[in-house]
């Protein structure tokens, strides 16, 4: 069964966010004085083939910790739901590497 996970990655509190500050500055200079803060993180959509919702969740959690985020600066939350999306192929780079088995 296909599931889609939405992983929201944000910078930990206390980690500077220059990109967020820059956007904040830009927003203010456009006259939006009521925007006290902007923080920018990543929004990662991951499609997972799994037997169950729980299985998919466990997998996404593992991925989130292992590769999608760097625990030194980032935290993440995620949601998982069944999906009927039609998927596109990746661009091709390193596709074959997987076949030759990088572990």
């Amino acid at each position: 069964m296909l599931f889609k996970a939405e992983v929201k990655v944000s910078l930990k509190k206390g980690v500077l966010d220059p990109q967020g500050s820059a956007v904040e500055g830009a927003v203010k200079s456009l006259g939006y004085t009521n925007i006290p803060q902007v923080r920018i993180g990543k929004f990662i959509e991951v499609w997972v083939e799994a037997d169950s919702q729980e299985g998919a969740e466990a997998e996404v959690k593992e991925l989130g910790k292992k590769i999608l985020t760097n625990p030194i600066m980032e935290t993440f939350t995620f949601t998982v739901a069944p999906s009927t999306d039609k998927l596109v192929q990746s661009t091709g780079a390193t596709e074959q590497a997987s076949k030759t088995g990088v572990q």
């Binding site: 596109v88 990746s90 661009t91 091709g92 780079a93 074959q96 590497a97 030759t100």
Partner: protein
């Protein structure tokens, strides 16, 4: 095709062109075939408006191994070392999305060069935007610079130089041109050719999606108009990581004998690469689009043919060697797929899952597009501009302030804001970094094949002896390169302005000590169907041809970008020149900064009161009018020879050409770039005739400033005299950290009495600040 009244309109063809297609085929084309003709006969692919004019350009010399017609030109540097180079525009995509547009522009030109079998070793960029006071222009400029950096940096190819101008004529149509230089062995030039019936056609690299469909036919071959939104294809996204893998895989592939020919898939993707390869080899090609690795589902046959997905190559492979190819691409984590074969019937036959969907003669697509000889008409503005009365302009009251304002102009000031975002050092070749005139890279293939050789070699084999330690490298040869075009001159006088662009690009290389050998060019113009635009184009090509003949720098290739207009307003005609010059011996590297206090400053060439088209007229008086400065090509050639001789004799300590802002700015730049301890000068400019401002800030051509140690002055002077170069001692370098400039004018009483007028006296720090802040003052807001 009876579905539509005017089927040709759908693919951007003219009615007469459609009839020509019918004549060639002996029948009406089907949908897919019509698409193929539409794109291959577009201006971008067929050069139908420019082809006849471009024939005038000189293309041959002893050094030229490959002239126009291939993916890039190639010149010989040493018996075992050649240089491939080419320039490309990505103007319209960059206006739509500056970051991705510029990035994919770089990706495209890199592929053009490595498809020749060369390892790219340098990039240059040429940029044009509207004035930086406009936020939209800042957005375009910042995005384009970031995109170029993104791609080049990731690829590990240094961007060693470029040029940028800001002028309102580009505010609705920016220009982003990128040039690439690669090195290869002269005997190992690869070509975009298919040969040998039964050989295989393979696609390698990225998967094919619907990106950029119709980019060539619609975007690059029609003017922008408001509300053209729906015509826009989805933005092409560059993947420099993929291209880096593709580069390494291709170079590794070239070490085998599996490759018959190779061509990158740029504009009009699969269709243009396959029909061009077939046409060059006088063969046919049969391909099945369903064998092309797809990124999206449900793609139609014509979408495969026209897709401009980046980072792909089409390769003609010796039959039976496909597994060799696969293995190499697999090692680099890339896809490769056999999609067809070479045939001997001269037809491009396209199958969709075995079923023929198009069957067209390759030559018809690649070579038989109609050739137009458009009408020409001198635009009315030209004569009008020439009548401008410069005597009505006031002379500056505050000369210090005037110089500072010029140095602070984004068209003159430091470009560090740009090149500090570019990796300009990787590959350890950059021996003159951006910031001066032309940049210089050293070439070391002959002595050290493992370094800049075309492929990476394994480490030392056992038993190899190590070089003695320490091992300082004195690389003997180098390449100097510069992109240049002052489009204001071209606007005022297309022919002379273009000749100046060639001369100035050459001059910039000469002052580093390199001998100019060849150019590539990127003609950026408006709509060629307008007689006024076409006239400027034809004049520009005449001027380019004259200058290239005079300076011995043939044209090895280039690119034409027409339809650079917004709402009917063409840009200033901008024939960008990419010059390549050879350093015979890097011992004689020259840079513009003052070196030693006490050195004398010598001005070569003649200074006239020429304000027309100058940065001074524009920045200080808000005027663009008059005529381009005069240019005597015979003298220019002589001047360049003399300067090279002087540099090679080792009697020059600094060299800089006089360009925008005139002598005053040129000297100021030399002071700003000076070595510590030589940051100052005292100079007097002899004003023979005309206005002082015209002499100080005017942009008379064929002038170069040299410095020399006092003891070498007589040698330098006699060398200049023997070359017939008029020159003057104008002052000397000192350690006062002050920049002092005076004018010497014949007195009213007698022409033998000179009056000295002290005009400029500023701390060099202040010059430096104005120069440094020229671009950042706008960009950090």
């Amino acid at each position: 095709m009876s579905k539509f009244d005017k089927p040709w309109v759908l693919v951007g063809l003219k009615e007469a062109e459609y009839h020509k297609v019918i004549e060639i085929l002996g029948r009406e084309p089907n949908d897919v075939e019509l698409q193929m003709f539409g794109v291959m006969w577009s201006e971008h692919c067929s050069y139908k408006h420019s082809r006849s004019t471009l024939k005038k350009l000189p293309t041959k010399s002893d050094r030229v191994l490959q002239g126009p017609g291939e993916n890039a030109g190639v010149i010989k540097v040493l018996d075992d070392l050649a240089v491939a180079f080419k320039i490309e525009s990505h103007n319209h995509p960059s206006f739509v999305e500056p970051f991705q547009g510029a990035a994919t522009g770089v990706g495209g030109i890199l592929r053009d060069v490595f498809t020749m079998g060369a390892r790219p070793v340098a990039l240059l960029d040429s940029l044009r935007f509207g004035e930086l006071s406009d936020p939209k222009q800042r957005h375009l400029f910042a995005g384009a610079v970031e995109g170029i950096g993104h791609y080049g940096n990731c690829m590990g190819i240094p961007t060693i130089g470029g040029e940028v101008y800001f002028d309102d004529s580009y505010k609705g149509n920016c220009l982003v041109n990128a040039m690439c230089i690669g090195i290869l062995h002269p005997d190992k030039i690869r070509k975009g050719i298919a040969k040998g019936a039964g050989n295989l056609i393979m696609v390698v690299g990225a998967r094919t999606g619907r990106d950029g469909i119709h980019g060539a036919s619609l975007l690059a071959s029609a003017e922008f108009s408001e509300g053209a939104e729906d015509k826009r294809p989805s933005v092409q996204v560059g993947d420099p990581f993929m291209e880096k893998l593709l580069l390494e895989a291709c170079l590794e592939l070239f070490e085998t004998d599996a490759v018959v020919g190779i061509q990158d898939m740029g504009a009009a993707g699969l269709i243009s690469s396959s029909c061009e390869m077939a046409a060059r080899g006088d063969v046919g090609i049969e391909i099945d689009v369903r064998k092309v690795p797809a990124r999206e589902e449900g793609m139609k046959a014509w979408e495969f043919l026209l897709s401009e997905s980046q980072e792909r190559m089409l390769v003609c492979v010796e039959k039976g060697k496909e597994s060799e190819v696969e293995a190499i691409f697999q090692k680099w984590g890339l896809l490769s797929a056999v999609i067809g074969t070479v045939t001997d019937d001269g037809m491009v036959r396209v199958l969709d899952n075995g079923e023929v969907v198009a069957n067209v003669p390759a030559h018809a697509l690649a070579d038989e597009a109609p050739v137009y000889y458009p009408e020409k008409q001198e635009p009315a503005y030209i004569a009008q501009m020439r009548t401008f009365d410069f005597t009505a302009l006031p002379q500056p009251e505050d000369w210090n302030a005037t110089l500072l304002r010029l140095l602070n102009s984004p068209n003159i000031g430091s470009r560090e804001w740009i090149y500090r975002q570019y990796d300009h050092m990787v590959l350890l070749g950059t021996v003159v970094a951006p910031g001066g005139d032309a940049s210089v890279i050293r070439l070391r293939s002959a002595a050290e094949p493992e370094m800049h050789g075309v492929t990476r070699q394994a480490g030392l084999a056992e038993g190899d002896t190590l070089p003695a330690r320490p091992c300082p490298i004195h690389a003997p040869k180098g390449i100097s390169a510069k992109i240049d075009c002052n489009a204001r001159y071209v606007y005022l006088n297309p022919k002379r302005g273009t000749a100046i662009a060639v001369a100035e690009a050459a001059r910039n290389c000469v002052v580093t000590g390199a001998t100019p050998v060849a150019i590539t060019n990127n003609c950026n113009f408006g709509n060629p169907e307008k007689p006024e635009v076409f006239w400027t184009f034809a004049e520009a090509i005449d001027g380019m041809a004259e200058a290239c003949n005079a300076l011995g720098t043939p044209v090895t290739g280039g690119n034409v970008s027409f339809y650079n207009e917004t709402s009917g307003q063409p840009i200033h005609p901008t024939p960008t020149i990419g010059m390549v010059a050879v350093h015979e011996n890097l011992k004689h590297l020259m840079t513009p900064g003052f070196k030693n206090p006490g050195d004398v400053i010598v001005l070569l060439g003649e200074t006239k009161d020429e304000i027309g088209g100058s940065e001074y007229a524009k920045v200080i008086h808000g005027v663009l009018a008059g005529d381009a400065p005069e240019l005597n090509l015979e003298f220019e050639a002589r001047l360049q020879k003399a300067v090279l001789a002087a540099i090679h004799e080792g009697i020059v300590t600094a060299a800089h050409d006089v360009a925008e802002g005139g002598i005053a700015v040129a000297l100021a730049e030399m002071a700003v770039a000076a070595k510590p301890g030589a940051r100052g000068c005292q100079a007097s400019i002899f004003v023979n005739a005309g206005r002082i401002d015209g002499n100080l800030f005017g942009e008379s051509q064929s002038r170069i400033i040299l410095t020399a140690e006092r003891d070498n002055m007589m040698r330098l002077r006699s060398l200049l005299i023997s070359h017939g170069i008029p020159h003057r001692l104008v002052g000397d370098v000192n350690d006062t950290d002050r920049f002092q400039l005076a004018a010497l004018q014949p007195g009213v009483e007698s022409e033998f009495i000179f009056r000295r007028q002290d005009l400029i006296d500023l701390p060099v720090d202040e010059l430096e600040k104005a120069h440094k802040e020229a671009i950042p003052q706008w960009m950090s807001a």
